[in-house]
């Protein structure tokens, strides 16, 4: 009798205790509550078996591609063309970088050796319940995924980068998400790799926009024009992105307009060819050694296989 009464009393205290704990955790500073991320990842794993199939179904009825599908052969050839174009531009960019390294070496600055990347195809299983746009990808630290690894589709189309890694899953923040911040890009004027730099900021409608570099700053004639349809690639000389991500495709120019803040400059609006928050599979480009992700001068992308290929 007394035992039953004690159990009832303990149960009745459980709810106020849980609410008190919730209040404490609500206001606990993040530096003391980082360990809760592990429970978050555990919850993702538990919900994954049902969220994954539902997400696949959702992505089937609401696909990422904006264009009608092309025949398979044409699609494959286009992908190959894009890949080789990217490789060509990467090599050009690498060449320029090496030239800069030589200059820096001559000044006595030490630089990291060149490191390759590993490619890993992984399905997108869901998105966190309150975050529009962030992709949960079924590949985590067990498969070697690191924070700041780069996610692409179709071999060269930049999706975003990994912002959080769990044992079995990771989160990819698309470049079109407002939280991703600005990215340094380049509008490609020709196949030789000549382009104008632009600092693109994500908008609310899946586009990125930002001021365009003046042609005179690149030593180009002033009549050089940026047209809709021109390809925009990631430039990023600031080191915010891994070196292997350089020259990946950000999107296409959809509009060029006068910059309201700087009357003499133009502003470019760029849109990826597909909705980055609705892709069903991504290829993660993982730096094979530490150093590339935080890039202090350099590593470029040799594609060294691994589980290579998704979408290529």
């Amino acid at each position: 009798m007394a035992r039953a009464s004690a159990t009832t009393s303990a149960r009745s205290r459980l709810v106020p205790l849980a609410i008190a704990l919730a209040v404490v955790f609500t206001f606990l500073p993040i530096r003391y509550s980082r360990w809760l991320d592990n429970f978050g990842q555990l919850a993702e794993v538990l919900i994954g078996p049902i969220a994954g199939p539902l997400s696949s179904f959702g992505r089937t009825i609401s696909p990422a591609s904006r264009k009608p599908p092309e025949p398979e052969l044409v699609q494959r050839l286009q992908n190959e063309r894009d890949i080789f174009e990217t490789l060509y531009n990467q090599e050009r960019n690498e060449n320029e970088r090496l030239n800069r390294i030589i200059e820096q070496l001559q000044r006595g600055i030490a630089l990291n050796p060149r490191l390759p990347v590993r490619q890993l195809a992984a399905p997108v299983i869901s998105t966190p319940s309150n975050l529009a746009g962030v992709l949960t990808v079924r590949a985590g630290s067990r498969l070697g995924v690191q924070r700041n690894s780069v996610a692409v589709v179709d071999g060269v189309q930049l999706v975003g980068r990994v912002t959080r890694v769990g044992p079995a899953t990771c989160w990819v923040l698309p470049v079109t998400d407002r939280a991703a911040g600005s990215i340094e890009s380049q509008v490609m004027l020709d196949d030789a790799g000549v382009g104008l730099a632009c600092l693109l900021t994500p908008g609310d409608d899946g586009t990125l926009s930002g001021p365009l570099q003046d042609p005179s700053e690149r030593g180009l004639p002033p009549d050089v024009r940026v047209e809709p349809g021109m390809v925009v690639r990631l430039l990023d000389n600031s080191g915010a992105w891994p070196a292997s991500a350089r020259m990946l495709v950000v999107g296409e120019v959809v509009r060029v307009e006068d910059d309201p803040d700087q009357p003499l400059r133009q502003r470019v609006v760029v849109r990826p060819p597909l909705r980055l928050d609705r892709v069903s599979e991504v290829t993660l480009r993982i730096p094979q050694a530490e150093g590339d992700a935080s890039e202090t001068g350099g590593n470029s992308g040799g594609n060294s296989g691994g589980n290579s290929g998704g979408g290529q």
């Binding site: 709810v15 849980a18 609410i19 919730a22 209040v23 404490v24 955790f25 609500t26 206001f27 606990l28 500073p29 993040i30 509550s33 980082r34 809760l36 991320d37 429970f39 978050g40 555990l42 919850a43 993702e44 538990l46 919900i47 078996p49 049902i50 969220a51 994954g52 199939p53 539902l54 997400s55 179904f57 959702g58 992505r59 009825i61 609401s62 869901s126 998105t127 966190p128 319940s129 309150n130 975050l131 529009a132 962030v134 949960t136 912002t163 959080r164 989160w171 923040l173 939280a179 991703a180 911040g181 609310d204 409608d205 899946g206 928050d277 609705r278």
Partner: protein
Amino acid sequence: MSWIAFAVATWVCFGLETGLRDALRLGTGGVAPSFVVPLLCFISMHASPREVVRAALVLGLVADLTSAQALVPAEYATIVGPHVLAYAVAAQLVLALRGVVISQNPLTLGVLSVPASLVITIVTTALLTIRSFYDPVAIAPSHDLLQGLGTALFSGVSAIALALVLFPMSWAFGFHSRPPARFFSRR
């Protein structure tokens, strides 16, 4: 109330919420229906007050664990607490209202899900705004509240759809008060 049925329903509703969120999202914003809030309202309409509070705490905890708070710069953290408290307050709202609504009508679930979802948005936004004073929490209160209003209205629609499944299944929850008598007659 059967806690096994509750666990299964929780698992399914969170699966629906995270799995179908992108497909059902309106435009490129964050307005998408909730499937968990209707479940909370359903339980709050029919279970005993003590069970309702416990269920709300569990649902809030899972909601906190499956969502993440954006930080500045682009980083994320799991914050436990805001949804737990918000779900508890929303459950109290439904408990207070359930005496004056027709609990047998599936439309009631849709109608109650709207204010419940709004309360959840207001409470979580308020708590995170307070937190943003000392933590690098990326929060835009006006935007989040406006988005929450859209989500609440959309959740009302999803709640009506969910009611068509939950009400006939209410026998599995073992509620003492029998909800579906008029619209879903038991044979």
